[in-house]
């Protein structure tokens, strides 16, 4: 599929999908003498672009993603999607959370169907869509399991399928593979690329793994803490799937590493 090769994928790549402008965040209940969690964040993500945020734990990645999702309000600045200010969650912004966030009282299939609930689909069509997504993330045969009876990796796949079931234009992913072992993690990266190539989305992907960001993204934004800022951005113009040992990947890994220290 053409989507797998090269970035950006569409001719319309210059069109901004998400604009983060002059964003700052200070949690209200925290000592005012502390540095802000986020300060002067500017970030533009083009339509169908895959952008990763990397940074150490605690530098504000989840906070930034939650603000883009509309789940928490910024202290200053704003987020625009398609030029319109974001005022709340919903409305085509799918999210995969850092923690397990499936509804434990629903089966895998029901969780995914729940994601499709706002779409104008008949119940039968919604069910079909959910089944297709379960297949897409490689969980055929596990559709009737409850989350408690799935491994961490499987739960994360269901969460991705659920977010995709919204048919969102924007997919926000917060360290979705952070809790997985290395082998499952690499499998999931491949699967995510496969999904992304078949259902184009604008993706903001949070990770603390530099190599994960390099394998997946069109662009990597490096964050630093206290206060949380975007310290540098790197574009990766390599076709996917990528080799971890590719000279450019290795060189970028090195440069990003130095920015983090």
């Amino acid at each position: 599929m053409s989507g797998l090769t090269g970035a950006p994928a569409t001719g319309d790549a210059a069109r901004p999908k998400i604009e983060v402008v002059g964003l700052a965040k200070r949690y209200a209940d925290v000592d005012a003498a502390q540095p802000a969690v986020l300060e002067r964040i500017d970030l533009t993500v083009a339509e169908n672009e895959f952008v990763s945020l990397v940074g150490r734990s605690g530098c504000g990645k989840t906070t930034l993603l939650n603000i883009i999702a509309g789940l928490i309000a910024p202290s200053a600045g704003e987020v625009r999607v398609d030029g319109k200010a974001v005022t709340g969650p919903g409305g085509g912004k799918g999210m995969v959370f850092q923690q397990q966030a499936l509804f434990p009282w629903l089966t895998a299939l029901q969780n995914v169907e729940f994601g499709a609930r706002t779409r104008a689909l008949s119940p039968a069509a919604r069910r079909r869509e959910a089944e297709q997504l379960i297949d897409l993330v490689g969980l055929a045969g596990y559709a009737e399991r409850y989350p408690a009876a799935l491994s961490g990796g499987m739960q994360q796949r269901v969460a991705i399928a659920r977010a995709l079931a919204l048919d969102p234009q924007i997919l926000l992913m917060d360290e979705p593979f952070g809790a997985l072992d290395e082998i499952t993690r690499i499998d999931m990266q491949h699967e995510l690329l496969r999904v992304w190539s078949s259902r184009r989305k604008t993706v903001v992907f949070v990770t603390h793994s530099i190599s994960e960001a390099l394998m997946l993204s069109d662009r990597v934004a490096v964050m630093r803490a206290h206060p949380g800022v975007i310290a540098a951005e790197f574009r990766i113009d390599l076709p996917r799937p990528r080799q971890r040992t590719h000279a450019e990947i290795v060189a970028l890994h090195d440069r990003i590493w130095r920015h983090l220290n």
Binding site: N66, A69, L71, G88, P89, G90, G91, K93, G94, M95, F97, Q99, Q100, A101, L102, F103, P104, W105, L106, F114, G115, R117, T118, Y146, P147, A148, A163, L166
Partner: protein, 255 residues
Amino acid sequence: MSASVRWRDAALGGIGTLAVLALWEAAARWGGASPLVFPPPSTAVVGALERVPGDVLVGHVTISLQRIVLGFVAGATLGVVLAVAGGWYRILGNLMRPIVELLRPIPPLAWIPMAIVWFGLGESSKVFVIFLAAFFPVFTNAWKGVTGIDPVLLRAGQTMDLTGPALLFKVALPAAMPDIATGLRIGWGLSFGVLVAAELIAADSGMGYMIMNARQLADVGTIILGILMIGAANLVTDWAIGAVIRRRLGTWHPV
């Protein structure tokens, strides 16, 4: 827990119960105590069954269960509704929390004099005391369930366009169900304990009354039969409630 393990555990419980009864039987028969004060359970039960006609026994059990069901349903319903509303809407919660905390530590039995003044010796006074016994544990547990939901579940719901009451009914309520179920079960048990006490004091029917009446007639056998009936009725109904809860929640929640 699988069904076979449950049966095995139940069988062990049965053996333990029979062992205690056998010990009691032996102690009463060969321990030298007067059978008027400490009769063996077999003599007590058989004698009581001869003295108290079957339809009278059934009548006592029925009226007791009727009181408990009325009081429990009222108390549990109000407990769930108020706790969910108060746990979800901060203003309501702030309004009700102090008064509930003030009344909660008062044992329901302490309300019996008040209940008699308000409702007389009729059915309402007993139902009212049971209502109180059911309300507080249900309220407390449902409150804990609604306010203790993992925020990420609510956030997930919000990203799927749920807000306000839809978020409450589709995410918060199902997530709180295990705690609500715990509250219902505790509330049922307490209702039972309180029922008997209420009937001991102010009733002319029911299992508690049967025991009190037998004491006046110095009929130890009937007292023992009454006690065993109360225990058995609680055991059976609690087991039934547990089975319903397991059916509804056991698929996803360990119960």
